[in-house]
């Protein structure tokens, strides 16, 4: 995304009166104009009527934790640098509906509310912010799923970009390759110079919009002056950031003392993420009240500085300020290229100005680079084909049967609407209207129905486990990767499961149990808290009787009638025999159990590529939009939940990622 300095594109000169005509024309064409406006002592991006609303004569002064508007002493319209708001507020609003539920008699129908706002024309998009829109496009539009409301808004948005001739104290777009000249994606681009505007056209839509304007081709001299000014601007950046190999350096320094140091200053307030034009993390809530009787769902901006961003039942992955700040910085500058093929930072400087204590992302990243203690190789981005359909809309499904497995765990036998294809290891998002939407693995198939084994730990799982046959619920999915049943054919397979972790593995075990020819030797090691917590006891017994399967069970705490093993699964793993380094290992359970198992396998010399894990994280969408299920450069919902260990070991090793 580097912006070519010199381009042969035609350049026109437009006087201010012509600009007014351009905006009028856009309005006539049905666009709602959105542009920079001075309000409450800063530039805000909001609806404007014409050029008289633009911040003529204002310029900003920015420093870490400080922003002031002052008079520029000239009549320029576009002298201001990025302010506290960014365009994402208009394409990805801070709050908006996700789905609405309609009831028709006994049936349920979820709908995505359509975007009803008129198309927008963004007036005065700075080059860094144009790049930010391109970055958000990757997140919302470029697969594996598309966010349909974003797509609807984005496709209709007309962009008038403005090149920067006066970068600010906090700008480093030149380092990030996003400015000071606008890259791709504008319909029309302006440069304000010597009291006039120089105009380039970037699209057919732009071509049509300028067709009737009083344009004149720029002279050679004007073209030269413009290029010279842009070159000067490039040299006047207030900040710089060396980006070469930065991701590998940041992830190679997860335990660097600098994180502790910055955490002492950081307020974990999250301002940086909310002013950042590319941050996309969100949260979802049920909105119905008793009075309105509705059961709709809305989403709102969230931040990795919020504690519940990393919540799972029983704890948080990132509860210290150090872990949260590290997530922000490593995501923006380190993980993003692996996820989306572009850095997540445009160099706009907003997070530096609007951090109440003035923490500077360039300073922190540079400090780590300068005292780096290691480097890792970051994974390449994988492009996934865009899948059809809207991943956020549940479809109704009916409970056919219910089976209580243990005091707190129930298996639902669910009949989806229409054919449903899934692979062992994948999961669904299950919805209870008005209560919530949670990720649950598919634990098997029975006829045309699928099985979900659910442990009641909170509100939604409690509601799910109290459903009765005939009840309706919503399903979205299947999502995620599956166990490598093809790749492990003919190998010695050891399955290690802890607690509810047996549920995501059961589908795979059933396949291996049914096909001894492909899976000649399968060993299952399963640990639960107490004998009463053991899942699927009859099925365990059935498997145990198969000639090609070996089943061993252990509990943390025995009851008087328990005659079996007591202790951790690793004790069984090596009991009476050597852990085979040539075997394949499929592991799922609490993360801490998996750590212990991995340590055991490592000690036995099992190569990392022979180990597969299924992980758990907080999830609100399943489709790669909510940002909550990240583990370093991976999204659990699309890159996981099943991972080959060698691919994730460089992040899995570290707590708090």
């Amino acid at each position: 995304m580097t912006a070519p300095e010199s381009s042969a594109a035609p350049l026109y000169r437009l006087e201010e009166a012509g600009l007014a005509l351009l905006l009028e024309g856009l309005r006539r064409d049905g666009y709602r104009l959105v542009g920079p406006v001075v309000r409450d002592g800063a530039i805000r991006l909001q609806r404007i009527e014409g050029i008289s609303d633009l911040p003529r004569g204002f310029v900003d002064e920015q420093a870490p934790g400080t922003y002031r508007l002052r008079s520029s002493g000239n009549g320029r319209l576009f002298a201001c640098r990025p302010g506290p708001q960014s365009w994402k507020r208009h394409l990805f609003p801070p709050r908006e509906p996700v789905v609405q539920l309609k009831r028709h008699g006994d049936s349920l129908e979820w709908r995505r509310p359509v975007v009803e706002d008129p198309p927008m024309a963004f007036i005065g998009v700075l080059p860094c912010d144009l790049a930010a829109i391109r970055i958000q496009d990757r997140v919302w539009m470029e697969g594996p799923f598309q966010e349909t409301r974003y797509v609807a808004r984005r496709r209709n948005t007309f962009i008038v970009a403005v090149n920067c001739l006066e970068p600010g104290q906090l700008c480093f777009c030149a380092s990030m390759g996003t400015g000071p000249k606008a890259g791709q994606g504008f319909d029309v681009c302006l440069t304000e110079l010597d009291g006039a505007f120089f105009l380039e056209v970037g699209s057919e839509r732009g071509e049509a919009a300028v067709a009737s304007l009083p344009l004149r081709e720029a002279s050679e001299e004007e073209r030269r002056r413009l290029q010279e000014s842009l070159k000067q601007a490039r040299l006047r950046m207030g900040r710089t950031l060396e980006t070469r190999g930065l991701g590998g350096t940041l992830f190679g320094n997860i335990e660097h003392p600098r994180w502790e140091e910055v955490a002492k200053r950081c307020l974990t307030c999250g301002n940086c993420t909310h002013v950042c034009p590319t941050c996309f993390c969100l949260n979802v809530r049920e909105t119905g009240t008793l009075a309105d009787g509705r059961q709709d769902r809305e989403r709102f901006w969230d931040s990795c500085f919020s504690l519940d961003h990393s919540m799972i039942h029983g704890g948080y992955f990132r509860h210290t300020p150090k872990q949260r700040y590290r997530q922000w910085l490593t995501h923006k500058l380190g993980a993003w290229p692996s996820q989306f093929g572009t850095v997540g930072c445009t160099g706009c400087g907003r997070c530096i100005a609007w951090c109440p204590v003035g923490i500077d992302i360039t300073e922190e990243a540079t400090a780590i680079r300068k005292t780096s203690r290691g480097h890792v190789r970051m994974p390449q981005p994988r492009s996934a084909p865009v899948r059809a359909g809207d991943p956020l809309v549940p479809t109704p499904a009916q409970v056919k049967g219910v089976r209580q497995e243990t005091p707190d765990t129930t298996t639902l036998w669910v009949e989806p609407t229409g054919p449903f294809h899934w692979k062992p290891g994948q999961f669904n998002m299950l919805s209870i209207p008005g209560v919530g939407d949670v990720p649950i693995s598919i634990s098997g198939q029975e006829g045309s129905g699928i099985l979900h084994t659910i442990r009641a730990v909170g509100k939604v799982t409690r509601a799910l486990t109290s459903l009765q046959p005939g009840a309706l619920l919503g399903i979205r999915g299947p999502f995620g990767t599956s166990w490598p049943l093809r790749a492990v054919r003919g190998r010695i397979v050891t399955v290690v499961a802890g607690g509810i972790g047996l549920a995501p593995l059961r589908g795979a075990i059933r396949v291996m149990a049914a096909h001894p020819r492909h899976y000649p030797w399968v060993r299952l090691i399963y640990g639960a808290r107490t004998p009463a917590d053991l899942l699927y006891p009859e099925e365990l017994e059935l498997w145990r009787q198969l000639l090609h399967m070996e089943v061993e069970v252990t509990v943390d705490r025995a009851t008087p009638d328990w005659t079996g093993n007591v202790g951790v699964v690793t004790k069984l793993l090596r009991a009476g025999r050597k852990v085979r380094p040539d075997g394949v290992y499929l592991v799922c359970g609490p993360e801490i159990m998996m750590m212990v198992v991995l340590e055991e396998l490592r000690a036995a010399g099992v190569p990392e590529e022979h180990i597969y894990l299924s992980l758990e994280r907080n999830m609100k969408c399943g489709a790669g939009f909510c940002g909550r299920c990240q583990k370093g450069p991976f999204f659990l919902c699309k890159d996981g939940p099943v991972f080959r260990y060698d691919r994730i070991s460089f992040v899995f090793r570290h707590a708090g990622l």
Binding site: C269, G270, F300, G436
Partner: protein
């Protein structure tokens, strides 16, 4: 997943947020049908407070009808004269701080009679503005303020309800937010997790699109260390937050205080900023003590 004592202590940091920091889980689930199968029973109680938070409940006109349908109101002296003090209550809303000798016993009784106990407002959750006396000497105040000090029976300190009994959930603010109150009651009745976020006020402020008063105007604001919920009222009118929702989880008050000093506040002003409506909440109390 399985929380095994054998595996405790590493990777997943199991930090339970205590109710006093705005827990995200209700201790008891009042939607679990009780043997009576009737509507959940509500009690609204008051200790040392101005009744402003109960006022918020009363101001929910439209929603109140729906609530009155869904709940059986057993005890709510400000709203009704028909009172059943003995309960038992599925849901008790408690306003006010524990400030007088008789409160000590009363709150124990309410706890014993209630399945879910929710404290509402700055007084009940932090001790309130009246907890300023905790930093001085009660006798001095009493002698200075009252003509007949011997008639005054007060505890030496005004404290949060959670310092005396187990609290299942708390609603912050002076006064509480109507949206949060309705969300809490609705969530309890529908069996969903209440969306009451223990996050900084800044996040709310930014979602609304307000301009930060610290960064743009150099005004001190406690927003970064204060729990969101008020609708960013003060910043919306160009003023700094004075922290009436109390500290957010993990509030880094030390870094906040540094910044306030940098903005030109004196040590005394910083102390007084933290020692205000929720000044006896632990994080704010400790910070103000650093600026004695």
């Amino acid at each position: 997943m399985t929380a095994s004592p054998l595996y405790s202590g590493t990777q997943v940091s199991r930090v339970e947020t205590p109710a006093a920091q705005g827990a995200t889980e209700l201790g008891v689930d009042p939607t679990e049908k009780d043997a009576r199968g009737g509507r959940p029973r509500l009690g609204v109680f008051k200790f040392a407070s101005c009744s402003g938070c109960q006022g918020v409940l009363l101001s929910c006109e439209d929603e109140l009808l729906a609530l009155a349908d869904a709940l059986e109101i057993l005890y709510f002296p400000e709203a009704s004269s028909h009172l059943q003090e003995e309960g038992p209550f599925d849901l008790a809303l408690v306003e006010g701080s524990i400030s007088a000798p008789e409160h000590l016993e009363q709150i124990q009784k309410i706890r014993a009679r209630s399945k879910t106990l929710v404290t509402i407002g700055a007084c009940a959750t932090s001790g309130g503005i009246q907890a300023l006396r905790n930093f001085g000497n009660l006798d001095d105040f009493v002698h200075r303020v009252y003509p007949r000090p011997e008639f005054i029976a007060a505890l030496a300190t005004s404290t949060a309800v959670a310092e005396h009994v187990k609290v299942d959930y708390e609603l912050r603010g002076c006064p509480i937010s109507k949206r949060q109150l309705l969300e809490l009651i609705t969530a309890i009745l529908l069996g969903r997790r209440p969306e009451i976020r223990n996050e900084s006020l800044c996040l709310g402020c930014k979602r609304y699109g307000y301009v930060c008063v610290t960064v743009a105007h150099g005004l001190p604001c406690l927003g970064p260390v204060t729990m969101n919920g008020c609708g960013a009222l003060c910043p919306s009118v160009g003023r700094g937050c004075y922290g009436c929702f109390g500290p957010k989880e993990g509030a880094n008050t030390e870094a906040m205080a540094q910044r306030m000093l940098q903005l030109g506040m004196s040590k005394d002003d910083v102390r007084n900023a933290f020692r205000f409506i929720t000044g006896y909440a632990q994080a704010f109390r400790e910070e103000s003590a650093r600026h004695e």
